[in-house]
């Protein structure tokens, strides 16, 4: 009898604790109204889909809560989920309108404008006539560049740079009372004032396509863009993790325009068009007094015989000069050494 009573008590207390924990858990995550993390918080939650690909379904809670989408509820991006447990979900459409109201227009927020910018860009899947381009699958989707760790928990993590100034936060607190709002608003503004990624990281993102030999060949791209960038002073500094050095976006995006609207170097409106290149060199933080000659030559030189014959022959000349100088010198050095050691032994014997 006593045992049964004890068991009832224990079951009651345990149920109370579980409910309390779940309640606290739900309160902590305002965006997780549907309590999706109840299942998706477990590392290793995954399945093999019908194509044999491993789908990792784990959501890292701390990464999620610090991500740009922390305020967006799960159903905001996954509107097709109506019940739990849910069935297969559709691929997320980043152009959906979400529940957040954009303050300047008071309309529902959406990334739709990005689609408009992308459609004008060299990376658009459709051409000027509105027809799909050749090899449309080669053109980037949102997640090809925005490799937010939230979506790819096992991919590399962005460098953590809080950059939060307590002095500035103090000013915010004069009018705004909620620290959570202050931090979020502050981050929202400041992350747009400085580069969120290092130039090396940006180059690595671009390299995913622009260093793919098959893709480069399919689209007739003239060079290995990222490895030739690494050969320049800018690329060197980027690989030394310098953050103040120009990356791909600084030179390939028209000044003052969205990075999504990257134009072809053949387009006269593009900053990379032959007569416009100097404008990016002359930016105030770069080479403000640069002569027009600076940008007249190949910015991404590749030292091969066909693309840069002059550099190729200079390299070949110096290699021959180095070998032709050092090999005879080393030969004479060894002969001299042998002669001295040999003569000394001979003298010692005598």
């Amino acid at each position: 009898m006593r045992c049964k009573k004890l068991l009832k008590y224990a079951a009651g207390i345990s149920a109370f604790v579980w409910v309390a924990v779940l309640f606290i858990f739900c309160e902590a995550r305002a965006a997780d109204i549907g309590n999706c993390l109840l299942c998706h918080k477990y590392p290793g939650l995954s399945r093999i889909d019908e194509n044999g690909d491993l789908k990792l379904l784990f959501i890292n809670e701390s990464v999620f809560n610090n991500s740009v989408h922390a305020n967006v509820k799960c159903e905001g991006c996954h509107p097709d989920i109506k019940k739990i447990p849910h069935e297969n979900v559709r691929k997320v459409d980043c152009m959906l309108e979400c529940h957040i109201i954009e303050p300047s227009s008071e309309k529902k927020f959406s990334h739709k404008d990005v689609e408009t910018f992308l459609s004008r860009s060299v990376h658009s899947k459709i051409d000027k006539e509105g027809k799909p381009k050749k090899y449309p699958e080669d053109y980037p989707d949102c997640k090809d560049c925005h490799d937010n760790p939230l979506y790819r928990p096992l991919s590399f993590f962005k460098k953590v740079r809080p950059g939060i100034s307590e002095i500035v936060l103090g000013r915010c607190r004069v009018c705004h009372k909620k620290d959570e709002f202050i931090f979020r608003f502050y981050n929202h503004i400041t992350t747009r004032l400085h580069a969120i990624r290092s130039p090396k990281n940006i180059a690595e993102v671009c390299a995913k396509c622009h260093e793919d030999p098959a893709l480069v060949a399919r689209h007739g791209l003239s060079r290995k863009a990222v490895s030739s960038y690494a050969e320049t002073f800018h690329g060197k500094a980027a690989n030394y993790l310098s953050e103040g050095i120009p990356d791909c976006l600084n030179c390939h995006v028209n000044i003052g325009e969205s990075v999504h609207q990257m134009l072809s170097h053949k387009n006269p409106e593009s900053i990379t068009f032959k007569d416009n290149k100097i404008k990016s060199c002359r930016m105030i933080d770069c080479h403000p007094h640069a002569s027009a000659k600076l940008a007249k030559y190949d910015v991404h030189p590749e030292f091969d015989k066909e693309k840069s014959p002059m550099e190729y022959y200079f390299t070949a000349f110096f290699l021959i000069l180095t070998g032709g100088t050092l090999l005879p010198l080393a030969g004479i050095m060894f002969l001299d050494l042998g002669r001295r050691l040999f003569s000394r032994k001979k003298e010692d014997k005598e």
Binding site: F233, K236, A237, N239, Y240, L241, S242, E243, G244, H287, H289, A290, S291, K293, L294, A295, K296, Y297, D298, V299, P301, F303, S308, M310, E311, F314, T315, F318, L319, L321, T322, T325, L326, L329, A330, I332, M333, L335, D336, L337, G338, R339, R340, L341, R344
Partner: protein, 256 residues
Amino acid sequence: MAENEISSDIPAVPEETEPLNPPPRYFVRLNPSEKVQHMLFVISFFMLALTGLMLWLPERTFHFLGSTQESVFFFRSLLHRIFGTVMMLVCAYHVYYLIFRPAGRRWLRDMMVRKKDITDFFYNMLYLVGIRDEPPEFDRFSYKHKMEYGALIAGTTLMSVTGLILWSESYWDKFLIDVSALIHGMEAILACLAVMVWHLYEVHLRPHKFPIDNMWLTGIIDEAEMKEEYPFHYKKIMSDPELQKIYVREGLKQDG
């Protein structure tokens, strides 16, 4: 036959009655000005090599420095420019020295390539491969010194010009900058290897000099070394009292 030809050029040393305990004689190879020029050149060369070749190492080598890496590379670039300027100033002074100072003019005259240098080169090769028993008798500067000095002039000129182009990159055509960066880097490798392979061996690492020849610090060598290394110059000095005033020091081993 060949030996007779050389020996006919060598001045005869006048016979002297030697005192019982003659003070040791030393011969000046570098005068104080030349020592300072050499010293400044060595320091600037070493610092330029150090700060320049950092760029040739794989970038990840320095990632352990973390956030200080940017400051390290800022000072690398600053030091490279400072020592580049020092080297160019030393070279500019050396040109002035060669033209306007008597010792400089003597240096330039002795450094000129002569027919003897060509024959010395061939005789030395024959000596090194064991065909000749004796090495050629070298003057103040052997053919090796002259080749190295020529390479130094060419190399320093090339490095200075390309370095200045890279320093003022905004004013030039990108093609010129690319070619300058290429030449600057490859010439630097060549110069460093030549110094490591040749100059260090020739001056410091040869068995009779190992581990270091302190002539670059004292500026002088003793009589035995002078007779062995530069016999032709030794004979010229000993046969000319004016040259003795310039090159011979007696007594303590220090340069006056």
